[in-house]
Symmetry: D3
Subunit: 258 residues, 6 copies
């Protein structure tokens, strides 16, 4: 019996930080993405070449790493990838990529918000550090969804402290309970793509705490992978009426900034 094996569609996951820093998160990314991806897709991971930052917790780091993000994205398009996930909750470079490439691009924020809206009406984001809180409010304003965001809270841990899973879990649980009890949240969004393999645990703890009432915990990595598959399957990419193709400037060499 002959079986025609359909070729898989290819997703590029850009990990928008330096390669050595990205390494620690790779097992978590793979676990979460493998769970969220269907068998019609395959994933390639790329962290940034050159002088990228070890993590992104400021607009400056977002800017700085966008150079490498563009480089990988342009290459991915040339190589026939079907979509790009910029694996960071703050969506660094995503607005720029939507201008530059023609294939669909998602970051970590919009897909998580979209999933949260489908399972609750008001929800809170719990992120890493105070510095990130206003950056996420700005994203919520940009997306036009502030009326659904009950609060943005943080666990007081830097991205490079997230490996201490026990501490992270404890802080997430604390802040999530406050978000629900004081801010009126009905669901929790993990506000950093580095908060890995804690969502199911957190959902379970919250269910216990709230007398058996299920509280969704939306993880951004899996949500983004799901959203990107959705866009690819539906032939959707960024509108050229929102994101006009930028003029190309001869003589510039954006692919080698370092």
């Amino acid at each position: 019996m002959t079986q025609i094996q359909q070729e898989k569609q290819k997703i590029m996951v850009i990990i928008p930080i330096a390669a050595d820093s990205a390494e620690a998160f790779m097992p978590g990314f793979e676990t979460e993405i493998n769970a969220a991806i269907s068998s019609d897709f395959e994933v390639t991971y790329k962290s940034l070449p050159g002088q990228a930052t070890p993590f992104i917790q400021s607009r400056t780091a977002e800017f700085w790493d966008t150079f490498g993000i563009i480089e990988i994205a342009q290459q991915a398009q040339k190589e026939g990838f079907n979509g790009i996930f910029v694996n960071c909750f703050g969506e660094p470079g995503v607005e720029v990529l939507k201008e530059i490439v023609d294939i669909p691009v998602v970051g970590g924020f919009y897909p998580a918000i979209a999933n949260a809206m489908m399972v609750s009406s008001r929800f809170s984001i719990v992120t890493v550090l105070p510095s990130v809180v206003p950056m996420l409010w700005t994203l919520a304003r940009q997306m036009g969804v502030t009326s659904s965001v009950a609060s943005v809270r943080e666990v007081g841990l830097s991205v490079n402290q997230l490996e201490d899973t026990e501490l992270l879990k404890q802080k997430l649980l604390e802040q999530s309970i406050i978000a629900i009890e004081q801010d009126g949240a009905e669901a929790i969004l993990l506000g950093c793509t580095g908060m890995l393999e804690v969502n199911q645990w957190l959902a379970k703890q919250l269910e216990v705490h709230f007398n058996g009432q299920y509280v969704p915990v939306v993880a951004p990595v899996g949500s983004a992978i799901g959203a990107l598959q959705n866009l690819i399957k539906n032939n959707l990419s960024a509108s050229r009426l929102t994101y006009y193709k930028p003029v190309e400037f001869t003589g510039m060499t954006p692919t080698s900034p370092y």
Copy 2:
């Protein structure tokens, strides 16, 4: 060589109208859903038993058909389905189902809005009739996304006139151009799940009209299937802090209202 075939996850697509009326739309539903679904999922279609309406263009029809929707949804959960898509843009019964069942439920509106937000910043909905326009504005208010909706327009055709594909296409193109030029839309949402197999055509026409600028046309059926797969893969369903399990009233027989 032994290949372990993983069992597919099952999606129930409820077509919330009477069986005989649903028939005409079945080929279109299948084409669009087959394109949007991944090979890890399989779909079952059910239209309504008993005295359901032939189409839904009023709150009254939405209400009326909710009885049958609940019946199918409860049965689907019992039979081990992993998620439910209520195949109508107006989301009839969806808020009620989120209380009654534990598996994820989506309608046609939220997923289409979510996809539109990922490819544009302001978009218009083009629906069937004037009567549906304020119903969709109310859904936009309920979802908290009015600031992203440039306008809600309609083609002046009833659901049972949508089979005249040529007329539909012409009217959609007309209204979409007005939405973009006068209302500031950057993408178009098809505002009825019965507008089938026209999205790619419309996108192409708009691209021609707007000097080669790509304009996304978001089709609700495929978007909803994508969103539901996303929720299922991420183990997300409706928050019990938004949608408390309702009290069950002994002696009532909600499954046989007719």
Copy 3:
């Protein structure tokens, strides 16, 4: 001397729960409505026939009872009633009734909000249970008044516990003080039409607590009766551009669902 007695205009008050459950609330309804109604109007009360729920604290119960609500409303219009009050804060069936009948219809939410807006600029709703809180936020979004709602709080009592007036009063006072002191409320809305004959008491207690500053407590039943008289006297009923007359489907028997 001959006195021409003008015929009174007739208001139908639908108590959208089962007859036996409605009974306990009747004395309170009558007291509040008699105080709020002018001598040009007379009131008829009807609770639901058949298998109605004993109370409404979920979208499911709202849906379930809408069948009986429609039945009574249609009959009331035939009998020449001038307006309908669906006596529940969550406004079950009201959007549907606005399509079906031609006489003015009010629920408990919109009139209470309108009165609150005329005596304050930001106010809080205090309702029965956590399950109702997001339902009321959705109504506030639907009405487009969220910017005036300081918070939605609840007393932790089910509708069928409201008869314990002392407990209700104590809880209402507690939550109202928190709403004012922490959420910035300037007035209180009682968020359930079953919270009867407590508004004057609560207003007095709040005035004492806040150093003699008068705090309005808006009771939904009397407010709705006032709003309905207002609409009737001004010849206003639901716009047919918002609520198109629904298509009638021959052979359906919506008046006998049980």
Copy 4:
């Protein structure tokens, strides 16, 4: 047989312009108020003493006439009136009166908006002159209801031209049709209390124009009388947490500014 005649509750209608200018509007006011008032209430009319303006179409005139409005309101409270209606759509002096007197006060704007919200979800205001348009948008912002206002339009007639009823009707019809067709209005608010005895005519014309679909035309005078009766019957007046009693300054003579 002895009949105990209950004493009627007294409403003071302040016509906030000079006495000679007010005269022309008196028959219209009386017709509309007599239709809207119930037999439990009686009305007294007072126009302004001293140097009041002949009409109000600017913030300056609103300010200027507030002196006389306060004077009458204070006197009305002393004489035992139960409520005050400041008979102008722009609500001159209303915020100040809510501080000064303890009885309920309404203007023309809030009650009309409240009635419009109960019969539609988006509506347009049609007022007199361009100068008034931004004043009404500011009131809509102050009341927190801009999301329900489809547009504010004007007929290009000054208040003292409103006596030409035929011209007014023609212009109202024109602007109302544009509001519905282009701005998405589902109901019309007459944006000046001097537009008298035209609402029923306009509603009829719009129904004809829109193929028999009823379009509510909300008249501010009757709506305000209805809202004031509602507040009085429900014992509601302005919150002292919104409108603190102002400090009284000895030696000032606010009642004789001219």
Copy 5:
């Protein structure tokens, strides 16, 4: 060497309270204004003639003092002043002045908000008394900036208690810390123009409290002087499409109300 001395542009600072009450604030006003004004401008101060109130903490006082404000403003325009600052955070009379005079007019609120927006994305106002809080929320609604206001708090001191600088400082620090920690403020606006010469101190204390993170404290007097210079230098004054020139009524004597 001949130096052509350009004539300075003249700013009228209206202190909208009685002369004897204004006196206590004069040193503070001068210090703050001298710091904020450039050498191309010169300032004249005028407090109100006749029966003005000693301070403004109610809409009634705002109204009452507007008579004197208009009188001074009209005179200032005649005398060739280039701009007017109504020195009160509540902006008494400002909307009316924008109609009456042709030169630019600012109050204390809009300029402070504008400065706060340029140094933060969400901020809190700390004002004098509870009575002023809803007045400031109304201004925020009027200006259309509520989404940037984290909270409005108050120190519980009347304007005539502000001379106790030590008490004021302590209360401001307390409320500012709460605003930042609980309400999410990123900057503080002093919500009364009588809170003088405390902004630098408060900014320093907050920086210490928040671990060396600089927190802007926006003082309304200096901000308004800056904004007015900005308008004058750019030849901008109030739009006549927002603020139509009011009709003048012969025989009225608005300049001598007492």
Copy 6:
């Protein structure tokens, strides 16, 4: 007579495009800035070093030029400048600069909006090309002022076509009239800092067109210079609770990307 000459405060105006492209705009910048600046300040102009773009009409160009903007800004802070104006309406790099430097930074958008709010309540922006329109809506969302923006329109001219002043004027007048008549604008903002020395002309034409009613035309360059002087004089710079100082990464060389 000895005159103590106070040292002037120094403003750095970054022209965020390539030096050769900047040249054409220099006379216009100087004229507008000289008019808007007070004699206490002096201005230094710097265009970008290296491979900057000739103009900015995309997010990509904004990103690309941010490298040079940062380089100049850091140098300016070292050299003791008191404030920075990034001379572009789209505010490229401004959010990043607020993190990196400690002195106040403004772009072209926020100051123009602030001035427009002080002279009108709703206004329109008229910019260069369709591609810029959604970028400006995003800025309006980010600033939280969308409710004051009547529309964003464009003249269909690229930045490098703005030298044709006559064409620009004609297009600006056309779009401004439409903005006022159809969109309800009460003032016009020039939506590109390259639209130089046309604001006074446009204001005059609009005044003629609108029957002598003055319509403010807000020019971004002068407004920004005014706003920056305001911040400097009031000792205000970006909040470190909004814009945390970013971590510095050793070994990176952000000052030489080319």
